[in-house]
């Protein structure tokens, strides 16, 4: 059973944008940043991009630390996730997926060699404990 005792989550400071679906479709993150569409009307970009342009006068653009994240080695992730996700993992890279893991709303950003696990910051300790335990209780 895969387990990992050394996963440390750190608060993920990001630019969080709530806007229309059309405006979100047009968003472009600068090179070197990661942009994930967490909902039809919400986007996270990290590191933060405070001066990003959004084609919506009513868009809410805030610097936000709602989430905490940790990088997982891809080999560990691909062994651990099948024991904890009732949803299918993407096979392309990069890729974004989200769903519940241990009753915690979790976002996964897959790169070739690693996976960024993003959880609500208040639940980071729970997820770290879950990872350390092997993730099946």
């Amino acid at each position: 059973m895969p387990a990992h005792n050394h996963i440390e989550f750190t608060r993920l400071i990001a630019t969080r944008i709530a806007t229309t679906a059309a405006a979100a479709d047009k968003l472009h993150a600068p090179a070197g940043s990661v942009m994930i569409r967490t909902a039809i009307d919400e986007t996270l970009i990290f590191p933060p991009v405070p001066d990003i342009s959004v084609d919506d006068d009513y868009a809410i653009i805030i610097e936000d630390g709602s989430y905490a994240s940790a990088w997982l080695d891809i080999d560990f992730a691909l062994r651990w996730l099948p024991y904890n996700c009732a949803w299918e993992m993407p096979t392309v890279r990069p890729a974004f997926a989200q769903g519940m893991i241990a009753d915690i709303a979790t976002k996964l950003y897959f790169e070739q060699e690693r996976v960024l696990m993003i959880v609500p910051a208040p639940y980071a300790a729970e997820m770290a404990a879950h990872l350390a335990h092997g993730g099946h209780a």
């Binding site: 009513y58 809410i60 805030i62 936000d64 630390g65 024991y83 609500p120 910051a121 980071a124 729970e126």
Partner: protein
């Protein structure tokens, strides 16, 4: 090697089944019944190595193995339980195109076909320890293995290739030892079990010392084990003395899994599992369902009682609901009902699980509800806080000295971590219109820089949350909600925005914004000494810096003292907390927890949504009509219900009551002259008022609201709210 059976060592040979080893030692696992060696019957069940309800025909021996029998009629079968060392059974999720259940000929053929078609396939073979136990919607096949549970999500095909089971005999004496199906006799003989000279009815098993018999089985005779079998042919009964009886009565498909997934197009049966069942002669007497001990007489009683459908007979008798899930009884029940009703009915519905699971296996993959921690969790622990689950959050209950915390708020300065409050930001072309439709207050009159306490009502006019609306200007509103209410309220807002067709933007900031409430008569002085000069006035809010940290400051009060809530980025929370504690040292600062807050707010008569409102708390019942503006020209959520219910007489009200020398528990029942009069929703001893204060949902009795009630033998008197600082001079100072 030796294995231990009921505390006695017996000889066993590597590679043989526990059943074979036991029979060689003249020990029957359950005492009797027709053994099948196919995992289809309950007659070889025993507790093996601490796991009960194991089919011993399917388990191989190992040195030191410990077996306890489930002897029919002598011991109560134990509750299903697993090995104490295997409390954590993991669940692995597998995604594939097809799953093939069964490793026999038809399963192998299906596997080859699927692989040739390029499908990704998961093959389950019970003989290899992978036992499918259910097919759920999806379809999703759940299987158990020796080390884990599998949840297999098949996108295209679920092929059930589980073969067929042999039909068990039903006749008087069929629970004696020494009865075998044809396949069982062959397998046991192969493992060296001496069956003696057996009478064989039907196909002849290989390598078994036997003599053939023909006819219909009338009864099995013997004491504990079969010593003779009586058959009838052409009206003549013949008794055959024997050491055992081997019966070959035909087959019925092992299709329980397919019957679970019968309405799923992806689920198919192949091979023997797809064949029609042989139907035995109608049983006359004997045990039909060995799991539940149901006899032919029981079936007749059920039939005579008017139950004619197989599904109903199953429910009435519980035949088919036991260990073998109908494998033994279904052919005979069908035959019985066909004889009585002249129509062959289909087998009854099957539901997971088809095989016994331990509690640990059932619980595999289940999780405890996770608890959230605020950014200050570590600070609370370091300060010796006793943490308590509150909603989905860990919160400090107290820091070891409730009384000192209470007086710090009332007479000095205190801080509390209120990061758990729901916090959202709303904008959009329809933002104001939307809020007018959601809240019962007139949001238009909340000017920029101002805030207002608000109720949230559902369509029935019941209060389900409360909080604050703060106008940020430029059509942007900051909203707060109760600690447990943010997720529910967010769903509510998003759902209503869609229902109303309104164009809004909404961000739930609860996880990213922390909040610290600074409260007490010396709080303002402390903040001013920290260099904060532009504090907002009562019910105003401002963006200010405190200790160099950007804060959104709200002037309000839940404690009854001067208070300011400082909302700030969660990553700055520890720094702000520490700065406030350091600055407050000379003012006697002390953090307080929920225990203190509950008393403070109760003294002020402030409600907590949930405990004080219940599921049917209207604004009228909880004395919050002042928070509902019926004149504003919007059909806000709950308005129609309020109009309707306001036409009825008020039946109960949330009121304040006091007792001079006794503090009732929350939930205590109020009586007037022995008649139920209400329930205590909140209760505490007030240190400052030196009496017990409480909120009571009080019933009108004969149209009158009682002025006195009895609570656990003590007289409580109704008083006006609030109990403390009636003019709110301290809060608004």
């Amino acid at each position: 090697m030796k294995i231990i059976v009921d505390g006695t060592p017996i000889e066993a040979e590597a590679g043989e089944s526990v059943l074979a080893a036991m029979l060689k030692a003249n020990v029957h696992p359950t005492g009797g019944g027709c053994l099948c060696c196919g995992g289809d019957c309950p007659h070889c069940l025993a507790t093996v190595d601490g796991v009960s309800y194991m089919r011993t025909c399917q388990v191989h021996v190992h040195p030191g193995q410990v077996v306890q029998r489930h002897h029919y009629g002598q011991v109560e079968p134990p509750m299903p339980q697993g090995n104490a060392g295997s409390l954590d059974v993991p669940t692995r999720h597998v995604f594939c195109d097809a799953v093939i259940i069964g490793g026999g000929e038809s399963g192998q053929a299906a596997l080859a076909t699927a692989q040739a078609a390029g499908q990704t396939v998961m093959a389950l073979d019970a003989n290899q320890g992978q036992e499918a136990i259910g097919i759920y919607a999806g379809p999703m096949v759940v299987a158990k293995t020796a080390t884990e549970m599998l949840q297999i999500h098949a996108k295209q095909d679920v092929i059930v290739a589980t073969g067929a089971a042999e039909i068990q005999p039903v006749a008087p004496g069929n629970m004696l030892a020494g009865i075998y199906t044809t396949r069982a006799a062959e397998q046991l003989a192969q493992q060296g079990v001496q069956l003696g000279k057996v009478a064989v009815l039907g196909p002849v098993p290989k390598n078994v010392w036997h003599f053939p018999i023909t006819g219909r089985i009338v009864r099995f005779e013997g004491e504990g084990a079969v010593s003779a079998v009586v058959v009838e042919q052409d009206g003549v009964e013949t008794t055959h003395a024997c050491d055992g009886v081997v019966v070959g009565l035909g087959f019925h498909p092992r299709n329980a899994l397919a019957r679970q997934g019968h309405d799923m197009a992806q689920v198919r049966t192949v091979g023997d599992a797809a064949l029609a069942s042989d139907i035995p002669p109608c049983p006359v007497s004997g045990v039909v369902c060995p799991c539940s001990g149901i006899t032919v007489d029981d079936l007749q009683y059920t039939w005579d009682s008017g139950f004619r459908e197989l599904e109903l007979v199953k429910r009435s008798t519980l035949a088919g609901t036991g260990t073998c899930q109908g494998s033994c009884c279904i052919p005979h029940m069908r035959s019985f009902l066909a004889d009585r009703g002249k129509e062959l009915q289909a087998p009854f519905t099957a539901r997971p699980v088809t095989k016994q699971l331990t509690v640990e296996e059932i619980a595999a993959g289940a999780h405890f509800h996770p608890q959230a921690e605020t950014a200050l969790h570590g600070e609370h622990i370091a300060l010796g806080a006793q943490m308590e689950r509150s909603g989905s959050w860990w919160r400090p209950w107290n820091y070891g000295n409730y009384e000192a915390e209470y007086w710090a708020v009332r007479e000095a300065v205190s801080i509390m971590d209120v990061s758990t409050l729901g916090k959202m930001l709303l904008s959009g072309p329809d933002a104001l219109e939307f809020l007018q439709m959601i809240y019962p207050t007139n949001v238009k009159t909340i000017k920029p820089g101002r805030s207002r306490y608000v109720l949230m009502l559902n369509d029935r006019g019941y209060v389900f949350d409360d909080g604050l609306i703060a106008n940020e200007g430029n059509g942007v509103y900051a909203l707060t909600f109760t600690s447990g209410g943010s997720s529910n309220s967010e769903m509510f807002l998003r759902d209503r925005a869609e229902t109303f067709g309104m164009d809004i933007r909404l961000v739930n900031r609860t996880w990213g914004l922390s909040a610290i409430n600074v409260t007490g008569p010396l709080a303002k002085a402390m903040l001013q000494k920290m260099g904060v000069s532009d504090l907002p006035n009562w019910l105003e809010h401002k963006h200010i810096d405190v200790a160099g940290i950007a804060c959104h400051a709200y002037r309000l009060s839940f404690t009854g003292e001067w208070s300011v809530e400082l909302h700030h980025a969660a990553q700055d929370s520890v720094a702000l907390w520490r700065a406030l504690l350091a600055a407050g040292e000379e003012f006697g600062i002390r953090p307080h927890g929920l225990e203190t807050l509950r008393t403070l707010r109760l003294e002020k008569g402030h409600i907590i949504v949930g405990p004080d409102t219940g599921f049917d708390g209207t604004a009228r019942r909880i004395h919050h009509n002042w928070a509902v503006n019926m004149k504003k020209p919007y059909d806000f959520v709950g308005k129609a219900a309020i109009i309707r219910t306001n036409k009825t007489e008020l039946d109960k009200e949330l009121v304040g009551m006091t007792i001079p020398d006794y503090t009732p528990i929350e939930g205590d029942i109020a009586f007037v002259d022995g008649q139920y009069a209400g329930v205590v929703t909140s209760s505490a001893w007030s240190p400052v008022l030196k009496k017990a204060v409480m909120l009571v949902m009080l019933q009108y009795i004969d149209g009158v609201l009682p002025t006195e009630v009895t609570l656990s033998g003590h007289t409580a008197t109704r008083v006006d709210l609030p109990f403390y600082d009636k003019e709110s001079a301290r809060a608004r100072a």
